[in-house]
């Protein structure tokens, strides 16, 4: 103690034989990191786009480098964590799948532009991504649902036809050539040498359905979800590894669903439009069974304060100025073009519209003949389906985690709190708002680097609480929110 005092203290003045010193206080020893009961030697991360570091509607190098597993691994280093390899896009391919960037703010609305991908694959039919066959620690595969983890050939480019139910290009990228290995098999292989894991699968089992306005994709059944969740956690813990699992957030709080509605409601109120007409559920492919219509009163559209219960998607934004305009079929043309790959070749635009009972000569959005397509609205019925699924999935996740004694990051509770109250990080205010809130990227679904840093911190808190470790958090303010044009 005295020696360290002498070391730290700079003599200032000698007075009456007393060495007076200015002593630099040292409190660092009170905060020394420790591993607790966990061996962090080999950490692997299992999950989907959130785990891969997907942001701004794409997977690209910057997002990968700021993924929450990468941030966690960096913090684990101080407590015995080893090397953490991610399938990073190399120099020259750093734009990855391509992404969107902010060009500016016009009349309060963000304007974005596409940055094309440069990692091999730029469209569903083009070449696959450049392979990454080295051993990796981050197994995050954008787009994967928990229901997909036992799909054989999921990473084999020779799988035909290539569609999202049977093939995933990001999984293909990290799968050996010609292998029909399932995601679960890959996880089981990696788990044999892992000492610690995080597992955050299941978001896409509700998200795809929700972002399509309930018109496409389908919700995984709770039984299927529970079965597959049990399998993946069993595989991860088979070798005695400790870990953390995360619950699934309620997607109705993300900017993708909360940004457009308030603007629409204000606009309709100002124009004295009492309500709009939408279609709900899926589109019809049987003659004589046109898509179901619903009337949505303007007063039931959810506003910024959370009053109202009808949600409009971020993708609805371009069509709002067309509401009330006759002879406009743009929204339906776009729906048709989206649906086209999964439609029989015989279905032309005209036939598709006829099947849905749509007459685009009528006023768009306020007539039953030219309603707002289901893909742009997550109505209250669909939200109930989403919430029920989320609740069931989270029950399965927490039950299994408790059975195995794992740490749990309850992201559902956490993000609900952020949506209600915002989140202050070291004196800086953040919210769940689009662009200005710092936490969600330009796709309205995935976090920004700061959002990922916040997630990493919440996971660290859960790990510390469960395993008696003392892992330091990151400072979220050192990670950007939305990148503005320079």
């Amino acid at each position: 103690m005295t020696t360290s005092l002498f070391r730290k203290c700079a003599p200032v003045v000698a007075l009456m034989g007393l060495g007076l010193t200015a002593c630099q206080p040292d409190i660092e020893d009170d905060f020394t990191p420790s591993a607790g009961s966990v061996d962090f030697t080999r950490y692997i991360a299992v999950g989907n786009s959130l785990t891969a570091g997907f942001q701004d509607n794409g997977l690209y190098l910057e997002g990968q480098q700021k993924s929450y597993p990468a941030l966690l691994a960096e913090q684990f280093r101080a407590v015995g964590g080893g090397e953490f390899v991610q399938p990073l896009f190399p120099a020259g391919q750093e734009n990855g799948s391509g992404y969107v960037r902010l060009v500016g703010i016009t009349n309060g609305s963000p304007v974005t532009a596409n940055v094309p991908g440069n990692a091999g694959r730029v469209a569903p039919t083009s070449a696959p991504y450049t392979k990454f066959t080295a051993a990796i620690n981050n197994l995050g595969v954008p787009g994967i649902r928990l229901s997909d983890i036992e799909t054989a050939g999921f990473g084999n480019v020779r799988t035909t036809p290539l569609n999202a139910n049977t093939f995933n290009p990001y999984f293909e990228r990290i799968t050996p050539d010609g292998s029909n290995q399932t995601y679960l098999q890959r996880v089981a292989t990696e788990a044999t040498t892992a000492t610690f894991f995080t597992n955050w699968l299941g978001n896409n089992d509700v998200l795809g359905f929700a972002t399509a306005g309930g018109a496409a994709s389908s919700l995984t059944t709770p039984a299927n979800f529970t079965d597959k969740n049990n399998k993946v956690v069993d595989a991860l813990t088979a070798g005695g590894a400790k870990g953390l699992v995360a619950t699934i957030p309620d997607v109705t709080n993300i900017p993708f669903f909360t940004t457009v509605g308030p603007v629409l409601r204000a606009t309709l109120t100002a124009r004295n439009v009492a309500g709009v007409v939408i279609t709900t559920g899926g589109f019809n492919t049987t003659p004589g069974m046109s898509a179901t219509r619903r009337s949505i009163a303007t007063t039931t559209i959810r506003d910024a304060s959370g009053n109202g219960n009808q949600l409009f998607t971020l993708t609805a934004s371009p069509y709002l100025p067309l509401i009330g305009v006759p002879n406009n079929g743009r929204a339906w043309r776009d729906v048709f073009n989206q649906a086209r790959p999964s439609l029989p070749p015989i279905v032309t635009l005209g036939l598709f519209l006829a099947l849905q009972g749509v007459d685009t000569t009528k006023q768009f959005g306020i007539t039953a003949e030219n309603p707002i397509p289901s893909t742009l609205v997550l109505d209250d019925t669909e939200q109930t389906q989403v919430r029920n699924a989320t609740t069931a999935f989270n029950t399965a996740i927490t039950n299994k985690a408790n059975e195995k004694g794992l740490a749990i990051f309850d992201s559902n509770t956490f993000f609900s709190g952020v949506a209600q109250r915002g989140l202050v990080t070291n004196g800086v205010s953040n919210t769940a708002s689009f662009v200005s809130g710092n936490l969600f990227s330009l796709d309205g679904v995935h976090p920004t680097p700061r959002g990922y840093a916040v997630i990493a911190n919440e996971m660290i808190k859960a790990i510390n609480a469960k395993y008696g470790s003392r892992i330091a958090q990151v400072n979220p303010n050192n990670y950007r929110g939305v990148q503005f044009p320079r």
Binding site: P25, E28, F31, G427, S436, I460, G481, Q483
Partner: protein
């Protein structure tokens, strides 16, 4: 001597401690002194492990006291110049609290013409006109932008203001004296201080166009009582209690000439509480020339949990002082040293949320301050 002096009539510094005691100071003379304040601080953010330390700086408070009056008269007059409020802290680059504060410099110089009158041989009163002759504030912090940090510097001079310092001194015997004094509050008002933004990217520049600011900082009132005990000719012991009316410091408000990030004013809660300081000190005359001193004090912090800011990372303070002076006839030299230990203080995120004070930062602070000083005096 632990900062005691309200109940004593030792020298011209009585003008600061208790103007009422000046008439009892028989020596007329001049004394000047200067201190070097060396503050050392450590901070670890909540959940973090990295210790942040100040970019070390030194401030030099000074004082000057001159008194005159008839040798056998009942009154003394004098002028005092002193610096009761001041601080300078420069936090580490990129520290976690950068958006609350990066740098602060506060300076104030009081000039106090003083008159003291001995009503009887045992009772004297005194008053001084406290003039805030100079005050300046320089506050700097980083601005959180979505993808980067800007920086703002607020720099201004305070307007000249008046207050008063009054006291009563009673010395019923050679062995005992008591005093009471009151220094009034002065509101240091900065008008049209300069606002300078740097590193604000063009995309955000429209939000940061202000060039001028107004702010008011209360330099709070202090009421003190003190006792002096002189068991023999060579030994003097003082006990003081100060009562500082920090509760006047409710909020720190900056008003800007144009909107800054959407508002033309920023308000930060302080909600300080009145606080007591207890002081004890003594001096012993070893020889006709050499006097040694020692003392200590305990300061209760005016800052509540949840309200600690980087500008005053405060907590209860324990302080010890040592000093000596040597007189060569009419000249004297004083040497002193003070060591202040501000107790370790932890503020949690929950504290900030509970009080709505999330504009500052959660973490643990510890500060030590060393203050060596030197003084010269000449009596006539």
């Amino acid at each position: 001597m632990g900062g005691v002096g309200v109940g004593l009539s030792l020298d011209q510094a009585a003008m600061f401690y208790n103007p009422g005691a000046l008439a009892m100071v028989r020596d007329r003379g001049v004394q000047v002194g200067v201190n070097a304040t060396l503050a050392r601080n450590a901070f670890v953010a909540e959940g973090g492990s990295q210790q942040r330390q100040l970019r070390n700086s030194t401030v030099t408070p000074f004082n000057l006291y001159a008194s005159f009056g008839p040798a056998e008269g009942k009154f003394r007059a004098g002028i005092a110049v002193y610096t009761p409020f001041g601080s300078k802290l420069q936090y580490a680059d990129g520290w976690e609290g950068r958006t609350s504060l990066t740098d602060i410099t506060l300076e104030s110089i009081y000039v106090q013409p003083t008159f003291s009158y001995a009503i009887t041989d045992q009772l004297s009163i005194g008053a001084g006109l406290m003039i805030l002759a100079y005050g300046s504030v320089n506050l700097q912090r980083d601005i959180p932008l979505p993808d980067s940090f800007g920086h703002v510097e607020l720099d201004g001079k305070a307007e000249n203001k008046l207050g008063f310092n009054v006291g009563v001194f009673f010395k019923p015997s050679d062995k005992l004296s008591v005093g009471i004094s009151h220094r009034s509050k002065i509101d240091a008002q900065v008008k049209d201080g300069d606002v300078t933004f740097t590193n604000v990217a063009p995309a955000f520049a429209a939000n940061f166009q202000a060039t001028k600011f107004n702010a008011t900082l209360p330099l709070v009132a202090t009421t003190s009582i003190g006792i002096g005990i002189m068991p023999n000719e060579n030994l003097t012991i003082g006990l003081d209690v100060n009562y500082a009316e920090w509760s006047k410091y409710r909020t720190l408000v900056f008003e800007f000439d144009q909107n800054v990030a959407g508002s033309n004013r920023s308000e930060s809660k302080r909600f300080y509480e009145d606080a007591l300081t207890f002081r004890v000190g003594g001096q012993y005359k070893l020889t006709s020339g050499l006097t040694v001193r020692a003392g200590g004090s305990y300061d209760a912090s005016p800052v509540k949990d949840g309200y600690v800011t980087p500008e005053t990372p405060d907590n209860d303070r324990i302080s010890g002082t040592l000093g000596a002076s040597y007189a060569f006839g009419k000249f004297g030299v004083d040497l002193s040293a003070q060591y202040v230990s501000i107790q370790k203080r932890t503020q949690t995120t929950q504290d900030l949320l509970n009080n709505g004070t999330t504009d500052r930062i959660a973490g643990t602070y510890k500060t030590n301050i060393v203050i060596p000083g030197i003084g010269l005096n000449y009596n006539f």
